[in-house]
């Protein structure tokens, strides 16, 4: 069942339907009452990122949890079971037993810009990534691994054979959906990893019946678009955000350089792009120079754009009304409101390229770009987060992967994990 089939909240008590495996672990004397563990997500938390994994594990085992939006940094409430306490202790996650104090907490939530959202079903997570290891890290994969949230890697063959329907949540690795290998083809000519990437993509395109890699990537982009329209949750970072929209808008236009498909790009490509097919952006202009590793003027920072490159600042999260806008509120839960920016091949999104109706979740104040955006499509939703690695602001090809055990409080990584838990939420009817 897709998480779009949300129903009205009927109760806020936790742990009424407890998974048998965990139920067995309860101390016998405690079965009559269902006490809770609060996982604070403010500065008292000792490992913010693993807290998401613990909450995920609870709901994965059939337990009910609650996300206390805006309460102490977006805390979680899980059943007070020995097994969960043990996991918390092993992972260094701070928890606080709450019994009678919960009444006061709920009172505070009721009276403030806060809300309690039940979390019911652990989403099945897929990460779209090539089978080989690219010479750059992927923030989402690392966050999931560190938090202990299981996921499945899928790639073009799985997408093209309809496997997306088996997953609730899809993350796009740093794919270039224009099929131009992130425009590294000329710059990194001769590198073995690039040769392997080109070979693998070309072979896959041929095997799936496409003449060129750009054609294959456009078809993959359309499948992902359909997946979201049918109720899937899409999360994309870095290049994938911008290029999936370019691939969708260019369904009948050649926007790939000669090196990618053997033909020059259409000189009138800009005019022929059909932005109605895209998720988030409109009116973008293609970067036609094959030697510039930039795709369009959607990205505000243009990290590889020479003189166009903009310096990094800091982005600020919006403060939404938890009771009226629970979805964006979930996506911005954090213990920090202002977060240092970080580069990616696509770092940010120019405001003048956003479609009307796109929800801005974070922006750099005073700058012409935004960082973190969200929107609906059909029965599903998508979220785009610019940049590559929140804890490695200038990640270079070949740099070692970030060790998240050194960044357990990373506010940037929290934003990624908010997205993973968001599909677990049981939606309430809007009060307006």
């Amino acid at each position: 069942m897709k998480r779009r089939d949300f129903v009205t909240t009927v109760g806020r008590s936790v742990g009424l339907t407890v998974g048998a495996r965990y139920f067995d672990l309860w101390p016998s004397g405690r079965r009559a009452v269902v006490p809770s563990l609060l996982i604070p997500m403010d500065d008292s938390q000792t490992d913010h990122l693993k807290a998401y994994g613990l909450t995920y594990k609870a709901i994965q085992n059939g337990l009910k949890a609650e996300w206390l939006l805006n309460y102490r940094g977006g805390s979680f409430l899980i059943p007070d079971l020995d097994a969960l306490r043990r996991d918390a202790a092993l992972n260094g996650i701070r928890t606080e037993p709450v019994d009678s104090a919960m009444t006061a907490v709920r009172g505070e939530i009721e009276a403030s810009n806060m809300d309690a959202v039940p979390l019911e079903k652990a989403p099945k997570v897929a990460v779209y990534a090539p089978p080989n290891a690219a010479p750059w890290d992927d923030a989402v994969t690392m966050a999931l691994q560190y938090a202990g949230i299981p996921f499945t890697k899928i790639w073009d063959p799985e997408v093209m054979t309809g496997s997306l329907k088996d997953y609730d949540w899809l993350h796009l690795h740093h794919e270039d959906f224009t099929g131009q290998y992130s425009k590294f083809f000329l710059i990194y000519s001769g590198m073995s990893w690039l040769a392997e990437m080109v070979q693998r993509n070309s072979d896959t395109a041929k095997r799936l019946g496409f003449q060129t890699v750009p054609d294959l990537k456009k078809a993959v982009a359309r499948s992902i678009h359909s997946y979201v329209g049918s109720g899937g949750f899409l999360f994309a970072m870095c290049t994938a955000t911008e290029t999936i929209d370019l691939a969708l808008a260019a369904h009948d236009v050649d926007i790939a350089a000669t090196f990618a498909d053997g033909t020059p790009l259409d000189p009138d490509a800009d005019a022929k792009l059909d932005w109605s097919q895209a998720f988030a952006f409109t009116g973008g202009h293609i970067e036609t120079n094959p030697l510039v590793a930039s795709f369009s003027d959607i990205d505000g920072h243009q990290v590889n754009g020479g003189a166009r490159r903009q310096p990094l600042g800091a982005y600020k999260l919006f403060n939404f009304s938890a009771k009226i806008d629970p979805v964006p509120t979930m996506l911005v839960q954090n213990h920090r409101q202002v977060i240092p920016d970080f580069y990616g091949l696509t770092t940010s999104f120019n405001r003048n390229r956003l479609k009307p109706g796109v929800t801005i979740l974070a922006e750099e104040e005073g700058a012409p770009w935004v960082k973190y955006i969200h929107g609906d499509l059909g029965k599903g939703t998508w979220t785009f987060f610019g940049g590559h690695d929140p804890e490695d602001p200038q990640h270079q090809i070949g740099d070692p992967a970030t060790d998240l055990s050194l960044h357990p409080h990373s506010p940037g990584y929290r934003l990624i994990l908010n997205n993973v838990l968001f599909p677990a939420a049981k939606k309430k009817e809007l009060k307006t």
Binding site: R86, A89, L90, N91, G92, D137, M142, Q145, Y146, G148, L186, S189, G190, S192, P264, L265, P267, H285, E287, T288, N289, L291, D297, G306, A307, R308, P400, A401, T402, D403, L404, S405
Partner: protein, 577 residues
């Protein structure tokens, strides 16, 4: 980078133009186009450049601007008549000739390109430029075979083994033919010594699988001295100091004016290596360089060479250097005493150190006394070790006296000496060792324990297996919560470090400490060491329950953060670092 988008070249042309008023006007005319181009408005930029060309057909900045912008706009064909017209007006301009070749290449007309290049070559019979530009234009279009042929036609026509070698080297590298690239770089440095730094930098990027082939190409029997020196530099960059010196040394057989520079560069590059072999070859290079340098420069280099050779474990070479140069230099004398101590000739070292008329500085003398005392301890000569320290009242000497007292079994005296030495004596590793030993001594109530002292001395002397047995025997005589677990932990750590058969001993010792439990840091420390050992020998799955037990049983232990980290690594949740 493609030369067609070479902004630096454009800027240089604009700057050059500023010397001449007419050229200033040319530069100003294309300035707006340049700005439009930088902001990505290529069609508008092209219009500006075309307007300029109409009034000034040979304006090279404008023509180059058109080359860039029309390429992006897929309108390169419009450029050809303009360039041909300009070239007709200025037939001797290499810039226009090159541009014409690139335009033909961009239009994918290789036959015309060749004809134009050969026509240019006829008009400039001694010049490499026509062949170079012909080949580069093709290489920019990724037409590798055709580009190679163009360069080779040039080499054949002009003669000379190194003709166009640099261009061929870069071409072969772009194609991934590293061996051929190395051969060409060898020819290039033979002809032009100034390109050596570039050659070394380029070849350093060769994939590991190609290293042997590249090295062989540069050290082939026919290779020049410069090519061999290039090989030595590249091998150093790859972290192969032994092979690097093997390539360098034969080039020093006959004196040449470039040898001192080459040796100094070799020594500097080897300085980046921290392996013993890296130190050794640096020492060898410095010793040879010192022989070429006059006076004090040579003396200082020789002393440095000796230190490097000692760090590299080559005592024979170090001694040979010192014996060949009977300097009265204090640095060299100190180096020789270091060498004698390292060579276990302690009596001679002591005699030289005690000689009244040496030029050794007070600091060096103190360091040598400490080194000598440690060496005496290593031979079990505790009284002579104490005597070597003399009346030195430095914290380093006090710390060393603490160890000597410990090995004598006088635990209380050792503890007092360590306290007096404080936490900052000597380097960080030594301070950590002392602190760990103080933690152990705190748990032991007895003022003396000759058994424990003897066991620790055995360990200090490097006999690990005997030390493990001695430590176990000593532990058996201590109360369970009065130091026994801590001593067993040390025995376990030694066994784990020893590896091989001793790993089972280590596991048994850690098991005993963990099962006994109780207060103190030993049980969680033993469980962490146990887990690390299991991870190291590829039994990560067995380490996980131990780490979980540690974290849950000793939640307030200082070892818990590290245990969590090892746990993450054992589970594969964080990358290896």
């Amino acid at each position: 980078m493609s030369r067609s988008i070479n902004w630096a070249a454009v800027a240089a042309l604009v700057l050059l133009a500023s010397a001449d008023p007419a050229r200033v006007a040319r530069g100003q005319a294309v300035g707006p186009g340049f700005e439009l181009e930088r902001s990505g408005r290529y069609a508008d930029a092209a219009s500006v450049y075309l307007t300029t060309i109409r009034s000034d057909p040979t304006n090279i900045p404008a023509l180059l601007g058109l080359e860039r912008t029309l390429f992006v706009l897929s309108r390169t064909s419009e450029l050809l008549p303009l360039v041909q017209h300009a070239r007709t007006r200025q037939p001797d301009s290499p810039a226009l000739r090159s541009l014409e070749l690139r335009v033909y290449a961009a239009l994918n007309e290789p036959d015309s390109l060749e004809a134009i290049a050969l026509r240019w070559a006829v008009s400039a019979p001694q010049s490499e430029a026509p062949y170079r530009e012909w080949g580069l234009a093709l290489a920019d279009r990724r037409m590798w075979d055709e580009a190679r042929r163009a360069f080779l036609v040039g080499r054949r026509t002009l003669g000379g083994d190194g003709t166009l070698a640099l261009e061929l080297a870069e071409l072969e590298q772009r194609v991934g033919n590293w061996e051929a690239s190395a051969t060409e770089w060898g020819r290039a440095v033979t002809r032009l010594p100034d390109v050596e730094a570039n050659a070394a930098s380029q070849l350093a990027d060769a994939p590991a699988a190609m290293h042997d082939r590249v090295a062989r190409a540069l050290t082939a029997p026919v290779a020049s001295v410069r090519a061999r020196r290039l090989a030595s530099e590249v091998l150093l960059t790859w972290g192969q100091p032994h092979e690097a010196w093997a390539a360098m040394e034969p080039t020093l057989a006959t004196a040449d004016t470039e040898a001192p520079t080459a040796l100094r560069r070799f020594a500097d590059l080897a300085g980046a290596l921290t392996t013993p072999e890296g130190h050794r070859v640096r020492g060898l290079a410095l010793a040879r360089w010192a022989d070429m340098m006059p006076g004090s420069t040579g003396g200082r280099a020789r002393a440095e060479a000796v230190r490097e050779l000692l760090d590299g474990g080559d005592k024979v070479a170090a001694r040979r250097v010192l014996e060949a140069h009977s300097d009265s230099n204090g640095i060299a004398q100190a180096a020789l005493i270091h060498l004698l101590i390292a060579d276990n000739q302690l009596d001679i070292a002591e005699e030289r150190l005690s000689a009244p008329a040496t030029a050794i500085t007070a600091d060096d003398r103190a360091t040598l006394r400490l080194t000598l005392a440690r060496a005496r301890v290593g031979r079990g000569e505790l009284d002579r070790a104490a005597a070597a320290l003399g009346d030195d009242s430095s914290v380093a000497a006090i710390a060393q006296r603490g160890w000597i007292e410990l090995y004598r079994g006088k635990l209380k005296n050792a503890m007092e000496a360590f306290r007096l030495a404080g936490p900052y004596a000597l380097d960080r590793a030594a301070a950590t060792d002392r602190t760990a030993m103080m933690a152990l001594l705190q748990r032991i109530q007895q003022e003396s324990s000759p058994d424990l002292g003897a066991a620790l001395l055995t360990l200090a002397r490097g006999d690990s297996v005997a030390a493990i047995a001695a430590l176990r025997r000593s532990a058996a005589r201590l109360p369970e919560q009065g130091g026994r677990l801590e001593v067993l932990l040390i025995a376990g750590q030694v066994a784990a470090q020893k590896g091989g058969d001793q790993e089972l001993t280590a596991i048994a010792l850690f098991d005993e400490v963990v099962r006994t439990g109780g207060e103190g840091a030993a049980p969680p420390a033993a469980e962490l060491e146990w887990s690390r050992l299991l991870v190291r020998i590829g039994r990560s799955a067995e380490a996980i329950p131990h780490l979980e037990h540690l974290i849950l049983t000793y939640p307030n232990s200082a070892f818990v953060p590290e245990a969590r980290r090892v746990l993450e690594r054992a589970k594969g949740a964080i990358p290896k670092s």
